[in-house]
C-alpha cells in the first residue's frame, strides 16, 4: 500500500503542477486581479511541494523496510544492507534520483511561494508558472518512463543490490548535495523566465533571486569540495582533481553560478547588467541540466564499466531542448524590450564585476569545449581524449587574471572610481604578492612558474580579501561583507594549497623488501610487515609502515591493496597522516616474486588548504546568505512599523 500511496501522491502532485501552471498563467497575464490569482498559485505550489515530499518519503519507507515487491527496491537493495545504504539506495538509482530531483524542485517552488513577499504579483506568478513547467517535464518523465513505484509480482525473496562498491558514505550524500545546487539554479532560472515574461527586470527581481543563487552556489561549493577530497583519498593517485567529465559536469554549473552571483549583485544594488544577468541565469541552469544529462546518459564515459541507458539520457535531452531552447528563444525575442539599466564607468565596482564575469565565462567555455570535444571528434570518426594538460594550460592563466579582479572589485566604489585611488588601495596586496614571488624565487626557484605565481597571487589575494574590512568598525560591519571577505579568503587559501601541492610535492616510488626504509621529504617510512586482512565485503593486503619525521615519534600507517568482489576490482586504500603543514600519503602497490613490495609515498605540503579553502568559501557564502536574509527581514519590519 505504501508504494501505491506514493504513486498516488506523485500523480496528484503532477496534477497540482498543471493547475499551478494554469493559474499562474492567468495571474501573470491578468491586469487587475493579479494578487488574487497569486494567492491561489501560492496555495497550489505549497500543496504540490507537500504531495511530492510525501511521495519521496514513501519511497524511502519502502527502501527502509526492504519491500521487495517493489521493482526498484528488488533491483537496487538487499535486506542485508546496513540501514544507511538502504535509505541512500532510494536515490542511488535512476528513478529514485529523478524523484529526488523533482522533490527538491517542488519543495523549493513551495518555499518560493511561501516566503517571497516583495516581488510584484505578476512577476511572482510568472516565476511560479515557470517552476511548474519545469516540474511537469520531470513528472512526465517519472510517471510515463521511469515509475519508481512499479510492483513486482511475485516478489523475489531478496534484492539484487548488494554491490559493495556502491556502499560508501561519500556516494550516499554527494549526489543529493549537487542536486540541491542544481535545483537552486532552477529557481533562479524560473525567476529569470518569469521576469522576462512580464518584462519586469529590475532590482526587486534580483533581490528575490539572489538568496536562491547564493544557496545553490553554497551547495555546489560543498559538493565539489567534498567530491574532490573523496577522489583524493579514495583513488590513491595522490591527485585531487582529474578533469573527468563527471567532475566537469559539477564544475560548470558552479562557474556559471559564481558569475551569476556577482552579476545579480550588480543588478540588485545598482540596477545594471540586466540582460547579462538574465542570460547567466539561463546558462547556469542549462549547465546543471547538461551536467545531469552527461552523467545520466553516459555518452561521454565510454570507459565506464556498465552501459547506461541512452534512452533515459534522451528524455533529459528533450527536456533540456524544451526548457533551455525555449528560454533562449524568449530571451532573444524579449531582451530588446528590457530597458537599459543604470550605467557605470569602466573603473568602478561594476566594471570589476564585469571583468570577473567575462573571465569566469571564458573558463566555463573552455571547460565545456574540452568536455564535449571528444564527442565532436567521435562524430567525425576520430578517437581521442582530453586530459588534465589541456584544462590546466587553458584555464590556469585565466584563473590568475581572475584573482586580480577579485582583489580589485571590493576595493572599488560603485558607479565610478579613480585609477589612482585604486592603485593606492591595491598597493598592499600587490606588494605582498611581489614579496612572496621574490622570496620564492630566492628560496625555491625550481618550483616551476605556475606554483610560484599561484603562491604569489594567493598571498596577494589573501591580504586583499581582508582589505574591505580594514578601517571599518568590525562589530558593525554587515554580515554579508564578512561573508564576501571570508569567501574571497577561501579562494586564496585554496589557491595556496593547489600551488603548494603542485610545486612542492615530494614523491618516492620503489620496490623494497620487508624491513627496509624509504625516505620522502622529511619522513622515513620502514616497511615493517605486509599481511592479509579480511573486511565485511573485501579482502586486502595491508602494509604496516613505521614512519618517523626526522627524529620524531614513530607512528604507523596502514595502506591497503583492497580487492572487492563484484566486479572484481582492486583499489588502493591510501593511508594518510595529516600534519599542520601537509599530508603524508602512502599507497601499497603490487608484490613481486622476490619478496619486494611496491611502495609509493607522497609528502604534500599544505595540500589540505585546498579543501579548507573550499570550506571557507562555502562558510563565507552562508554568512552572506544569513546576512542578506536578516537585513531584508529587518527592513521589512521597519517598513511595517512605519506604516
Amino acid at each position: 500500500m505504501i508504494a501505491e500511496a506514493g504513486l498516488a501522491a506523485l500523480w496528484l502532485a503532477a496534477a497540482m503542477a498543471i493547475l499551478q501552471l494554469g493559474v499562474a498563467w492567468v495571474g501573470a497575464s491578468a491586469s487587475s486581479d493579479a494578487p488574487l490569482y497569486l494567492r491561489a498559485t501560492r496555495g497550489v505550489a505549497l500543496v504540490q511541494g507537500v504531495l511530492v515530499a510525501i511521495a519521496f518519503a514513501m519511497l524511502i519507507w519502502v527502501f527502509a523496510r526492504s519491500d521487495m515487491s517493489v521493482l526498484l527496491v528488488a533491483e537496487n537493495s538487499h535486506s542485508m544492507k546496513p540501514m544507511l545504504y538502504k535509505i541512500a539506495g532510494a536515490w542511488g538509482n535512476h528513478e529514485g534520483s529523478m524523484l529526488l530531483w523533482v522533490t527538491v524542485l517542488a519543495v523549493a517552488g513551495g518555499a518560493v511561494a511561501f516566503f517571497e513577499r516583495q516581488l510584484a504579483p505578476r512577476t511572482l506568478s510568472a516565476t511560479l508558472g515557470a517552476q511548474a513547467a519545469i516540474g511537469l517535464g520531470f513528472y512526465a518523465f517519472l510517471l510515463l518512463a521511469s515509475n519508481p513505484f512499479t510492483r513486482l509480482n511475485p516478489p523475489p525473496l531478496d534484492g539484487q543490490g548488494l554491490n559493495p562498491l556502491l556502499q560508501d558514505p561519500g556516494l550516499a550524500f554527494h549526489p543529493p548535495t549537487l542536486y540541491f545546487g542544481y535545483v537552486g539554479l532552477s529557481v533562479a532560472f524560473s525567476f529569470a523566465v518569469g521576469a522576462l515574461l512580464v518584462r519586469d527586470v529590475g532590482p526587486a527581481f534580483a533581490r528575490a533571486m539572489r538568496p536562491w543563487v547564493l544557496a545553490a552556489w553554497i551547495f555546489l561549493t560543498i559538493g565539489i569540495t567534498a567530491g574532490s577530497y573523496w577522489a583524493y583519498y579514495e583513488l590513491g593517485w595522490g591527485g585531487w582533481w582529474f578533469w573527468d567529465p563527471v567532475e566537469n559536469a559539477s564544475l560548470m554549473p558552479w562557474l556559471a553560478a559564481t558569475a551569476l552571483l556577482h552579476s545579480v549583485t550588480v543588478l540588485a544594488t545598482r540596477d545594471g547588467l540586466r540582460a547579462w544577468t538574465l542570460m547567466l541565469a539561463v546558462v547556469a541552469f542549462s549547465m546543471s541540466m547538461i551536467g545531469t544529462f552527461l552523467v545520466r546518459s553516459g555518452i561521454l564515459t565510454s570507459v565506464h564499466a556498465f552501459a547506461v541507458d541512452p534512452l533515459r539520457g534522451s528524455f533529459i535531452l528533450v527536456l533540456l531542448a524544451l526548457y533551455i531552447g525555449g528560454a533562449l528563444l524568449l530571451f532573444a525575442t524579449r531582451v530588446g524590450t528590457v530597458k537599459q539599466g543604470a550605467t557605470f564607468e569602466l573603473v568602478s565596482r561594476e566594471g570589476a564585476l564585469v571583468v570577473n564575469n567575462l573571465l569566469l565565462s571564458v573558463i566555463l567555455g573552455v571547460v565545456l569545449i574540452g568536455t564535449l570535444y571528444p564527442l565532436l571528434a567521435q562524430a567525425m570518426g576520430v578517437q581521442l581524449s582530453i586530459g588534465a594538460p589541456f584544462f590546466n594550460k587553458a584555464t590556469v592563466p585565466v584563473a590568475l587574471a581572475l584573482v586580480i579582479a577579485t582583489v580589485a572589485g571590493p576595493l572599488l566604489r560603485w558607479r565610478r572610481d579613480d585609477w589612482r585611488v585604486l592603485a593606492r588601495r591595491m598597493a598592499v596586496p600587490v606588494l605582498t604578492a611581489v614579496a612572496a614571488a621574490i622570496l620564492l624565487l630566492v628560496l625555491a626557484g625550481d618550483a616551476g612558474l605556475y606554483p610560484i605565481l599561484g603562491i604569489s597571487f594567493g598571498a596577494g589575494l589573501a591580504v586583499g580579501s581582508l582589505m574591505p574590512l580594514v578601517g571599518r568598525n568590525l562589530r558593525r560591519t554587515p554580515l554579508y561583507i564578512w561573508g564576501m571577505a571570508i569567501a574571497h579568503l577561501g579562494v586564496a587559501v585554496s589557491i595556496l594549497g593547489m600551488a603548494a601541492d603542485s610545486g612542492f610535492t615530494r614523491e618516492r616510488l620503489a620496490a623494497i623488501p620487508i624491513g627496509e626504509t624509504l625516505h620522502v621529504g622529511p619522513f622515513s617510512a620502514k616497511l615493517a610487515d605486509v599481511a592479509p586482512t579480511i573486511g565485511p565485503n573485501w579482502s586486502a593486503l595491508e602494509a604496516r609502515l613505521e614512519v618517523r619525521r626526522g627524529d620524531g615519534r614513530m607512528f604507523v600507517l596502514r595502506p591497503q591493496q583492497r580487492f572487492f568482489s563484484n566486479p572484481v576490482t582492486s583499489t588502493s586504500e591510501a593511508a594518510l597522516a595529516t600534519r599542520w603543514d601537509g599530508q603524508l600519503y602512502a599507497v601499497l602497490g603490487n608484490g613481486s616474486d622476490n619478496g619486494r613490495w611496491q611502495l609509493r609515498l607522497w609528502w604534500k605540503p599544505f595540500v589540505t588548504l585546498i579543501w579548507a579553502g573550499g570550506g571557507l568559501i562555502a562558510f563565507g557564502g552562508a554568512l552572506s546568505l544569513i546576512g542578506r536574509l536578516w537585513r531584508e527581514r529587518r527592513k521589512r519590519k521597519g517598513e511595517a512599523q512605519e506604516a
Partner: protein, 175 residues
C-alpha cells in the same frame, strides 16, 4: 550587430544540442561478451584451503560428467546470498567445485559453517590468478563445465532462485 548577438546564445545552444544528439545516435560498442565460453578451462592446480577438503586441479574438473565451478569468497556478501541456491543444486546431485578467491582458512571455515557447504572441493586462489585466467569479472561467478573440461556457460553475479533453471538446462545439455 546587436540583433545578431542576441541570437548567438540560441545558435550556440542548438549546435551543442546537435552534437550531443549525434553522440546518442552513434553510441560506442558496449556489448558484454564472455571471452572464455566455448574454450577449455585454463590449466590450474590450486591447493586445499580448509582441512578435510581437497584442492582443485584440472584433472579433477574433466571427469566425464558436467560440473559447476563456483568462484566465491568469505568476504563477499553476495556469496552468502547465493549459498542456499547452491545447496539446493547440490541436493539435486550437481557436483560443485569451489575456488576461494583471496581468502583465509579461518574465515572460510566460519563461512562454510554459517552458510552451508555445497562444495566437493575448494581450491585456494590466494592471489586470484585463476580468476584472472578464467576471465572472471568478479565474485561470485559460476561456470558450467562439460565432461571434457570445456566451459559452456559463464554466469556472472550471484546465482538467484531465478537462475537455477538456466544452470540446470546448461548442465543437461553438457551431458
Amino acid at each position: 550587430m546587436r540583433r545578431a548577438l542576441i541570437w548567438l546564445p540560441l545558435v550556440l545552444f542548438l549546435l551543442l544540442l546537435g552534437l550531443v544528439i549525434s553522440g546518442i545516435v552513434k553510441p560506442g560498442d558496449r556489448a558484454v561478451r564472455s571471452a572464455m565460453v566455448g574454450k577449455p578451462v585454463p590449466a590450474l592446480d590450486l591447493p586445499a584451503l580448509v582441512d578435510g577438503k581437497p584442492g582443485v586441479n584440472s584433472a579433477a574438473l574433466a571427469t566425464g560428467e558436467p560440473i559447476l565451478l563456483n568462484l566465491f569468497a568469505s568476504w563477499c556478501v553476495p556469496c552468502i546470498a547465493e549459498a542456499p541456491q547452491l545447496m539446493k543444486l547440490k541436493q539435486q546431485g550437481v557436483k560443485i567445485y569451489g575456488v576461494a578467491v583471496r581468502d583465509t582458512p579461518e574465515a572460510m571455515a566460519r563461512f562454510l559453517n554459517e552458510n552451508g557447504d555445497p562444495y566437493a572441493a575448494i581450491g585456494d586462489d590466494g592471489a586470484s590468478q585463476v580468476s584472472i585466467a578464467l576471465g572472471s569479472s568478479g565474485v561470485p561467478e559460476t561456470y558450467v563445465i562439460d565432461g571434457s573440461g570445456r566451459i559452456v556457460l559463464q554466469h556472472i553475479g550471484y546465482v538467484g532462485e531465478q537462475d537455477i533453471a538456466e544452470i540446470r538446462a546448461a548442465l543437461e545439455k553438457a551431458r
